[in-house]
């Protein structure tokens, strides 16, 4: 990782953070207007405004989180010695921030799944509900360094300690996944629709466990 890349992380973070917060704020205010319109009886306008507000707030908060992480990772990487340590520190930051960003998508997926199981879904809701299936795989793939970037950087991202941390992270995630799957199965015996709605949360919890456990181990081994 070059100095230009490091400076780029910091510059991009500083440039994006404020506009992202403004977008989130505008989204929140639009949500209030939509809610007021709903109360006045303008259901179509109110629902439209609230949907737009949800998307704007979600995008704004996610972008702000990434910008903040980018700024922090730039500063953190400056203090890391050697390219191997820099690449590994950058990966740990990605694995820390992604689960938080995906939490908003999980909530949206659960709401979409709820509407789907009650027979009121459109194309957008199908897509929203399907997203957890993608990131449930993305996070463990990133933990294991199987993604395209990590494969290119294998020389820097793969060593004995990393492999030991990967094993511990995936074991923890597997335990969370099995516990969650058993819970959802039992829930499904009682209320099948609730089980479908709960699945994105289980997938998020398991994927995030892998990601955050790896990041936690890495940070705890920083001396």
């Amino acid at each position: 990782m070059t100095e230009d890349t490091l400076t780029g992380y910091q510059k991009l973070g500083a440039r994006v953070f404020k506009p992202a917060l403004v977008l989130a704020l505008v989204g929140a205010m639009t949500g209030i207007v939509g809610w007021l319109a709903n109360r006045r009886g303008d259901v179509v306008i109110g629902d439209g405004l609230m949907t737009a507000a949800g998307v704007a707030t979600g995008v704004g908060v996610t972008a702000a989180l990434f910008a903040w992480a980018g700024y922090r990772v730039g500063r953190r990487l400056e203090s890391a010695s050697g390219r191997r340590d820099r690449e590994q520190a950058a990966r740990v930051w990605q694995l820390t921030i992604l689960p938080m960003a995906m939490l908003a998508m999980t909530a949206a997926a659960m709401l979409a799944a709820e509407r789907m199981v009650h027979g009121a879904a459109d194309g957008l809701e199908w897509a929203t509900a399907a997203v957890p299936a993608l990131y449930a795989l993305l996070l463990p793939v990133m933990v294991m360094n199987w993604d395209a970037h990590a494969r290119k950087m294998r020389k820097y991202l793969d060593d004995e300690l990393i492999r030991a941390m990967q094993a511990r992270a995936i074991i923890a995630a597997f335990f969370v996944l099995m516990t969650g799957a058993c819970g959802v199965y039992l829930l499904g015996l009682w209320r099948a629709d609730w089980a479908v709605i709960a699945l994105p949360a289980v997938l998020w919890a398991a994927a995030s466990t892998a990601s955050l456990r790896f990041a936690w181990l890495s940070r705890s081994y920083d001396g």
Binding site: S81, G82, R84, Q88, E160, Y221, D222, G223
Partner: protein
Amino acid sequence: MGDARLGSHLKEVRTAAGLTQAELAERAGVSRKTINTVENGVFTPSTTLALLLARTLGVTVEELFFLQD
């Protein structure tokens, strides 16, 4: 990941060689974190890594690691 039976002189040998953790890591082709965890007994290195560290420091593996009583 660590093994309480494994003792290590890595820190002493490294400092005697006048190397920082980062310098040893760079020479051995591992992360500084790996050196740190091996020195603190948090991580037990494989035979390959132990040999690599010994070769980098110009000592034998037995001079770096030993079994505690």
